[in-house]
Subunit: 339 residues, 2 copies
């Protein structure tokens, strides 16, 4: 390990997007006098009659949720993307716009209002994984849909407006910016080396063992060398799979175990229900050759020093590049100690 | 105006970065049950003896601020970038890193602790503009510095840890991600058309008058067609200037007036001291031909519906593309009414 990376300002390349993150290790010593987040240690009931995601309750549009027992999926009542939205384009001098169609769904992870993924058993999480696979296949089969974005916003600080355990799936006709970047980088590497860039990176990380948090037979949980958020992590399948539907029967439980391990470690880190946005990046469903893709799931948690102090991605980060203080290698040590 | 843009989901191209924003106009009707921000309507004193930015006070490193009367600049006591930081690079398989050197400064806009730019007279703001010019020139003359990022984080919700009116200047050896993108897009257009893309865009906006908030002899305040944040705005000089040092005597006061107008309108919008991150993107100081650059100042304010409800750029936005509900054209109308 190059110790300069722990001592001096530098930038690291994200091989999947081609963008850089600025790392300023010495800056972690800076005092904090800014905004503190509220911590909710409220214990939630297993059922809340005012929650529009609980089983049997009525949603804002009058629909009644079934008495579901594991996972429940429905179309978002305020979908940002719709299939019956008008097709049009604007090409007026330097004003360029294009209609976008899609389907937005909500997926309840459990009927139990009080839980989060961290509180669920791997076999329960596996039900969520199986449903993600179904959704990816079903949405991907729709001719209108060329990309399926699975994600979760957890915690009020991440814009989540309902604590009931749930995630979302936004699927659409064109590739979003971040997916476009990863598509290009992975394609270029694959063309040149006939193997996946993420798989090659994984081999290197497994040899070095410096940023690995956990591994089982199918998956590795690590902090990528180029991580932006203080405790950002990534779950990478050991097999070269382009999308989650390629997981076999054994893989799904191993993946569920990886999710369980990292979300439990997060909750222990600052002794709080750890907020984050997570998401799965995987091959588009555009019918093209996507063998350059190697799917992966990332967690972007905002907390920096405690349950109440988060990292602000503001001025310099918005106008320049993302910036972090604590290095990926220090963060790995903290998380590893909590397994 | 194409009314489809007000009714149906679409994406718009940011001509300066080459990236897209997803716009879902119908979604503005969605109810909000999520996190509310705290509003501070606290009236601050003109001088606070515990503030490390007030004139005459002692900073954390023991240095004493002078009794400054207008603007005061010093090197950040917890600088993310330093000039005496070690030079090194890592090129180890798929791990790529490069040391980064630079200078980070803090600029106090006024000795008056109680004020913000919105409360200052244009002639007072002009003092800030003149100092930005000095800093751009002085830092740019340093061989280590190839780019100067001027920005302000205003409000606790934007990670600002001290309400004393101040901004920052981070200058460094390489170009940050966002600047690199704008450099490429502007260069490509300039090569093909021998004129600046932003100047050409400005002409089109001035003809259409749909997204213009304010103009004077030197500057236009507008909401760009591709704005991401609900009330994002941009100040663009009418003359083709590559960087702020090219502003002449008259320009600086006209620019100060534009800043004054938009910050005052912001404060009126939700009847609160309006938080934002602002920043100036301008030509690098790398000694190359940068005639493709057209400098501009942008404001990225997080608030969406009121002083307490902000737009969260989370799951889909982090993994996919930025997304907005209210259109640029509706936001313009709201801000114009407040002038
Ligand atoms: O330098 P400050 O004001 O302490 O810190 C603030 O601005 C910096 C530059 O945008 C960010 O990196 C920090 O997260 C933010 O809290
Ligand atoms: O769809 P929700 O949960 O109401 O909304 C949340 O997630 C969306 C997708 O990341 C964001 O656009 C919203 O800003 C956020 O509040």
């Amino acid at each position: 390990m190059n110790t300069d990376l722990q001592d001096y300002s530098h930038k690291r390349l994200n091989i999947l997007t081609g963008e850089w993150v600025l790392v300023s290790p010495h800056r972690a010593k800076r005092p904090w006098q800014g905004q503190n987040e509220a911590v909710s240690n409220e214990v939630r009931p297993s059922y809340d009659d005012s929650c529009y995601l609980c089983a049997g309750n009525t949603r804002i549009n009058g629909e009644v949720n079934p008495k579901y027992e594991n996972v429940y999926v429905f179309t978002n009542d305020f979908a940002a993307l719709q299939t019956d939205s008008k097709s049009f384009s604007v090409n007026d001098g330097l004003l360029k716009a294009q209609s976008e169609q899609g389907i937005c769904k909500v997926i309840c992870f459990s009927p139990d209002h009080s839980k989060s993924l961290a509180d669920m058993a791997p076999t329960e999480i596996e039900q969520v994984v199986l449903e993600w696979q179904n959704q990816y296949k079903e949405l991907g089969d729709n001719d209108l849909i060329n990309y399926v974005q699975i994600f979760e916003n957890k915690g009020a600080v991440m814009g989540c407006s309902n604590p009931h355990p749930h995630g979302q799936i936004w699927s659409q006709t064109t590739l979003p910016n971040e997916v476009e970047k990863k598509d290009t980088q992975q394609r270029n590497y694959f063309k040149e080396h006939q193997k996946s860039i993420l798989g090659t990176y994984l081999t290197q990380e497994l040899e070095q063992q410096e940023r690995i948090i956990f591994e089982n037979d199918g998956f590795v949980v690590l902090i990528p060398f180029w991580a932006v958020w203080p405790f950002e992590t990534m779950i990478v399948p050991k097999k070269h799979q382009t999308n989650i539907s390629e997981m076999t029967g054994e893989d799904t439980l191993l993946f569920a175990e990886a999710i369980s391990v990292i979300t439990k470690a997060y909750d222990k880190l600052f002794n709080t229900s750890f907020p984050y946005s997570s998401g799965i990046h995987q091959a588009p469903t555009n019918g093209e050759d996507n063998s350059h893709w190697h799917w992966h799931m990332s967690f972007y948690p905002p907390l920096l020093r405690s349950a109440t102090v988060k990292k602000f991605m503001v001025g310099y980060e918005m106008f320049g590049s993302p910036q972090r203080d604590i290095t990926a290698e220090s963060a790995v040590k903290m998380l590893r100690n909590l397994l």
